[in-house]
């Protein structure tokens, strides 16, 4: 047992668990390899991973840091507005991330064939939704400032 730990770096349980993954996932990859477009599927698999780790994550992190820096106030400062930007950006950003094909109409042709409808209404809805979320956030921030000022007086 100690020999395994020394050579392998962990216990037998770890080894078995990893083997289970390679057995099941490996068999699935073999099945995929038999499909019509294995290389393309593999590229999408890799693409999804890279797109999250090296595009989506750095972009939202850098944006967030830029906003935090631009504000220049500590989080405990009552005039801090960062979360009144963060929250609406996150909510509308997620809606866009999930439904961008319909919002941008990039799937307009297949969508019309499938549903008989155009995609036009989704962009309007998204703009209205975004405006509403940011307005509510701005209103809440104003309320907070007012309350803070009243307390200071």
């Amino acid at each position: 047992m100690n020999a395994l730990r020394k050579v392998y770096g962990s216990g037998l349980f770890h080894f078995v668990a990893v083997v289970v993954c390679f057995a099941v996932s490996g068999y699935a990859i073999l099945r995929l390899a038999d499909s019509a477009e294995p290389v393309l599927i593999g590229l999408w698999f890799l693409g999804a991973l890279l797109a999250h780790d090296f595009l989506l994550y750095p972009v939202y992190t850098l944006l967030d840091r830029a906003v935090a820096k631009g504000q220049g106030l500590g989080g405990t400062d009552r005039a801090s507005w960062i979360n009144f930007v963060r929250v609406p950006v996150l909510l509308t950003g997620l809606v866009f991330l999930v439904w961008f094909p319909l919002i941008l109409g990039v799937n307009a042709k297949t969508y019309r064939a499938a549903s008989g409808l155009g995609t036009g209404r989704f962009l309007g809805r998204f703009i209205a939704f975004t405006a509403a979320v940011f307005l509510v956030s701005a209103a809440l921030y104003c309320l907070r400032l007012l309350r803070w000022q009243r307390r200071a007086d």
Partner: protein, 421 residues
């Protein structure tokens, strides 16, 4: 030891919120959500009755068909519930998944990247885990919007991708569940939810490298961050659920492909393909249309008037799409069992239903013996008290309780009953 290159330096990570406890909270939510996704996903495949030709869209499935069974027809809302859960919960899990990945991203830049064989192998399982979960979410969400920027079969990609994920998920669970439980015990969620930003301290230094060495001051409380993730998830849930649940909620499904409001006329409910898109011509569906019925020993050709003269049955049945939307309608037509009897095929084990559609994956589908014999399985001629519209399958379409939407073949041309398959 030489200094790690950027971004492998531990000082890169600044969030005061990251730590094993926060990761474990997201993990615990996923531990409920992900198995539900796996279960509904596997059931969704079984619902296609892939044992019947030509229903199987992943004939190379091999051992992954081990659990398949004859899909039931009751309860009539079974497929509707299954698919509604799969798509709605999937979309609601997007923020949780992204938050979980955010919370563990420092691990991607571990330094040195590999310290033992065990670590190297485990990192490969993590790459499979994260790659497959993102792949499944991307393909699933885009498919639900009929957006196909790829040229591979969605069914193959999503099924085998799911099994890559299942393998990696089980392993991740086996290796990390003890850590999750231990981390959750270290802090009380209730106590954490009482702390504002001023009381938000980093978690104590951990052996996983998640807690920042030099954290910035917090700009949001841990409570705020958890609340934000929860609110986003519930928000997406609220924006999606209506396309499956229907009623007033449907108008809340603002961005769902089949959400929003439809008119109140009998045929005003979503379709999943239009007559024009599959090349149905008006003359094919006019007075010259005949339904060809084939049994093993006899054949019949029936006009729509003759079908109308047969005993009519009316049932409220949902039509539910693999894409997650569903709607209940009142269908009227003849029992498929009655049609089987007309060609001496009462004991049929399957019926191949062929459409007037020109090509496409679902221009034909087979129904099982159980589906044929269900009293509520109809060849529908009317919906909600009016003749079917062209887009809903005029002159006649199949409606079978609890069957996937695409198996309710529209514009039926021929039904071939088979004794044993």
């Amino acid at each position: 030891m030489p200094r790690a290159p950027w971004p492998f330096r531990s000082t890169v990570w600044r969030s005061p919120l990251r730590g094993p406890w926060l990761t474990s909270v997201f993990g615990a939510v996923l531990l409920v959500g992900i198995p539900l996704m796996i279960l509904t996903g596997l059931l969704s495949y079984a619902a296609y009755n892939p044992g019947l030709s030509p229903n199987d869209l992943t004939p190379g499935r091999g051992l992954f068909g081990f659990y398949l069974f004859d899909w039931p027809t009751r309860p009539v809302w079974l497929y509707r519930l299954n698919q509604g859960l799969h798509v709605t919960v999937g979309i609601a899990l997007v923020p949780i998944l992204l938050a979980k990945l955010w919370s563990v991203i420092p691990k991607l830049f571990d330094w040195p990247p590999v310290r033992s064989v065990a670590m190297a192998l485990e990192r490969i399982t993590i790459a499979l885990l994260v790659g497959s979960v993102l792949f499944e979410f991307v393909t699933g969400i885009l498919n639900s919007q009929v957006f196909y920027p790829w040229k591979f079969s969605f069914y193959e990609a999503h099924l085998y991708g799911a099994w890559v994920f299942i393998g990696a998920f089980v392993t991740h669970l086996a290796l990390k569940l003890p850590t999750m439980v231990r981390s959750l015990r270290r802090r009380s969620l209730r106590a954490e939810l009482r702390k504002g930003i001023a009381d938000t301290e980093p978690e104590p230094p951990d052996e996983h490298g998640l807690v920042a060495e030099r954290p910035d001051p917090p700009t949001i409380s841990r409570r705020g961050a958890l609340g934000l993730v929860a609110a986003s998830s519930l928000g997406l849930l609220g924006l999606t659920a209506g396309q499956s649940i229907g009623g007033r909620l449907r108008s809340l499904a603002l961005f769902s492909p089949r959400g929003g409001s439809y008119g109140s006329a009998p045929n005003d409910f979503p379709v999943n393909k239009t007559a024009a898109s599959v090349g149905i011509k008006a003359e094919e569906t006019g007075p010259n249309w005949r339904l060809a019925l084939k049994g093993s020993s006899s054949e019949r050709s029936i006009s729509r008037d003759e079908l109308m003269a047969m005993p009519q049955h009316t049932y409220d049945l949902p039509i539910a799409c693999v894409e997650g939307w569903s709607v209940v309608a009142t269908w009227t037509g003849v029992r498929i069992a009655d049609l089987a009897r007309m060609v001496g095929a009462s004991g049929a084990d399957a019926v191949l239903v062929e459409s007037l559609e020109k090509g496409g994956a679902f221009a034909q589908a087979s129904l099982s013996g159980r589906q044929i014999r269900d009293q509520q399985s109809l060849l529908a001629l009317q919906v909600n008290g009016a003749d079917l519209s062209m887009d809903h399958g005029f002159p006649a379409r199949v409606i079978v309780p609890a069957a996937p939407g695409v198996h309710n073949t529209k514009w039926v041309r021929q039904m071939t009953f088979m004794e044993s398959v």
